[in-house]
């Protein structure tokens, strides 16, 4: 199972990263490279869309935490879109629901971002 990672940046400066497939010890480096690449390109406000993620383990969590550390160093943000209970459960078990902003949809994340400005 391949991991597909795509991204686009909205007019508002929010970079949406859509991830599809299984994020584990084998595929997580690809997501890590993408996050590092985006930060290196000056994209510091990231939204990772997890709706098509079929599997996530702690390696994937580690990559997301690493991405968060990187963007925070530039006063940026890394938030998530996720409504899948099986994925949310992993964030809850590890206490990471307190670390990441988690939204129900990209639209909701964009709205909150506009509201916070």
């Amino acid at each position: 199972m391949d991991l597909k990672v795509n991204d686009y940046t909205t007019d508002d400066g929010l970079t949406v990263i859509t991830v599809e497939g299984e994020i584990d010890v084998y595929t997580a480096p690809r997501l890590r490279e993408k996050l590092i690449d985006l930060v290196n390109k000056g994209k510091f406000h990231l939204l990772v869309d997890m709706e098509k993620v079929e599997f996530l383990d702690s390696t994937g969590l580690g990559v997301l935490v690493g991405g968060l550390k990187r963007v925070r160093a530039h006063d940026g943000s890394l938030e998530l879109v996720c409504t899948q209970e099986r994925i949310l459960k992993i964030f809850r078990i590890t206490g990471l629901t307190k670390v990441f902003g988690i939204h129900d949809s990209i639209a909701e994340a964009e709205e909150k971002r506009k509201g916070a400005k």
Partner: protein, 146 residues
């Protein structure tokens, strides 16, 4: 159901294969469908941890997985061969920059996920390596399917 034993090279690509096998054997052993996700994730975490430990200390040694569905429990044991004095808490504390720091954090998260998901967990550290034994309830007498 009789035991299934699996050894695999310490390669990240094999962890997914191990997860698929474990899920199949767990289903056949009578583990409820609702628990299969937890089995898959917890065993995957244990295998990832073992693969990463082997890659740092003994990349040529295989990781060992034992599955047994005796009685009313489905039991999984993941064993590595990283000696405990090297493994410490399963993690080396080498300050090798950000990637290493993240790796350490990830492994801690892995143990948190395992203990959050497995019904019963026992981690034993011996001079020969670390063993993570997990088990879940299983129904008895599930007829074999062709």
């Amino acid at each position: 159901m009789g035991p299934v034993e699996l050894t695999f090279s310490a390669l990240p690509a094999h962890v997914r294969t191990a997860r698929l096998i474990v899920t199949a054997v767990a289903r056949r052993s009578g583990v409820a469908e609702a628990l299969l996700d937890e089995v898959r994730l917890a065993v995957g975490e244990a295998c990832s941890r073992a693969v990463e430990a082997h890659q740092r200390h003994c990349p040529d040694e295989p990781v060992r997985l034992e599955l047994s569905g005796t009685g009313r429990r489905f039991e999984v044991t993941v064993s590595d061969t990283v000696p405990s004095e090297d493994a410490g808490r399963g993690l080396p504390a080498e300050p090798n920059g950000l990637e290493y720091a993240l790796g350490d954090g990830t492994a801690d998260l892995g143990l948190a996920v395992i203990s959050g998901l497995a019904d019963d967990v026992e981690i034993s550290t011996t001079p020969k390596g670390v063993q993570i034994r997990m088990s879940w309830p299983a129904e008895e007498g599930v007829p074999p399917q062709s």
